[in-house]
């Protein structure tokens, strides 16, 4: 189920440096810039009726999967698979952390059995083929590094 609204979680501060939170909602739109404009307009209205100052805000849109299937027997959210990428100039290394990785993505022989990702395993091949690095960005908004290096288990 997809939320019909976007929540505006806003943070306010008073003269004693105390913080408060106010949550408003605006209608959902696929145009994120339009949502942001609507949120700022709503917060501007609040400024007119509050002595506190706005110090930050967060836009939250939620979607839940209707009737998701039961997790498989091996699903374990204490385990993560890190997929590491390097930038083309090899100055930056980023990682994507995937929860509860399937066992088939790991090497099944040698000292790294169950620890290091097998790059030729079908799930990894399919993931890389999806070219996620072309559509994701780093937390700083930079283009995601392009060269897959290695993957491994994190506990």
């Amino acid at each position: 189920m997809q939320s019909p609204t976007v929540a505006i979680e806003s943070y306010w501060r008073d003269v004693e440096n105390r913080d408060a939170q106010l949550t408003l909602h605006v209608p959902f739109s696929h145009d994120l810039a339009a949502v942001r404009s609507a949120a700022l307009a709503a917060l501007d209205v609040v400024k007119g009726i509050s002595d506190a100052v706005l110090v930050g805000y967060k836009l939250i849109w939620r979607a839940t999967i209707d009737d998701p299937p039961e997790p498989s027997l091996g699903a374990d959210l204490t385990q993560f698979l890190g997929l590491f990428y390097r930038s083309d100039d090899e100055t930056t290394t980023e990682a994507i952390w995937i929860p509860a990785p399937v066992g088939a993505v790991f090497e099944d022989e040698g000292v790294y059995t169950g620890i290091r990702a097998l790059a030729t395993s079908p799930p990894i091949v399919a993931f890389l083929a999806a070219s996620v690095q072309d559509i994701l960005s780093t937390p700083e908004g930079e283009a995601f590094p392009q060269t897959y290096v290695v993957g491994g288990l994190r506990l």
Binding site: Q79, G82, T120, V150, G152
Partner: protein
């Protein structure tokens, strides 16, 4: 109210960074990654720029736990083995792949645990030396072998030349004879 602050925000080191080799227990790697991942979170670092730099360093360190340079050293040693084996024994090495994690090199044949002392190809230093030894042995001993059927040996040939010169009298030039004797002496025949 006093808050207990367990997080000390740090500056990430600036490049260039020095590198050293160390050993580690492979079975502990998932836990090393867990520890480094925790420290890669942004709240440990003074600002976004330092957090991004630290995250990259720590990610790179995680990569090194998963791809230790020991493997690179072993690969380099294997390359030297293949170079020597090709040069000495003429072994032909074939490969597939492009060397990326998705398409790793697969080199055939595998390096044997113990080299076969009898193995060498025609185009090899091993074969050239072997042939040279057969020629030299034949030349010195006159024993025929798979390459040479001539049964004469060089000692006998020199002796025959000398005897012919001395007996025939055709060459009575003492200087020629003395030079031949000098050559024979130099050869140790």
């Amino acid at each position: 109210m006093t808050r207990l602050n367990l997080v000390r925000k740090n500056f990430a080191p600036l490049p260039p960074l020095d590198c050293e080799m160390c050993d580690f227990d492979v079975q502990m790697v998932p836990f090393y990654l867990g520890a480094l991942w925790l420290r890669a979170q942004k709240y440990w670092w003074v600002d976004q720029e330092n957090a991004a730099r630290a995250r990259s360093y720590l990610n790179e360190q995680m990569v090194r736990f998963l791809m230790p340079c020991g493997a690179d050293i072993v690969a380099a040693t294997d390359r030297v083995y293949r170079l020597l084996d090709s040069t000495l024994n003429g072994r032909f090495w074939d490969w597939t792949g492009s060397g990326t994690p998705e398409d790793p090199y697969v080199i055939t044949p595998e390096i044997p645990i113990v080299p076969d002392p009898e193995y060498y190809e025609y185009n090899s230093m091993h074969n050239d030396l072997n042939s040279l030894m057969l020629y030299v042995r034949n030349l010195v001993t006159g024993s025929p072998n798979v390459l040479v059927s001539d049964t004469r040996n060089i000692r006998q040939q020199f002796d025959d030349i000398l005897a012919a010169i001395e007996a025939g009298g055709t060459f009575d030039d003492d200087e020629i004879i003395s030079k031949l004797e000098a050559i024979i002496l130099a050869l140790g025949v």
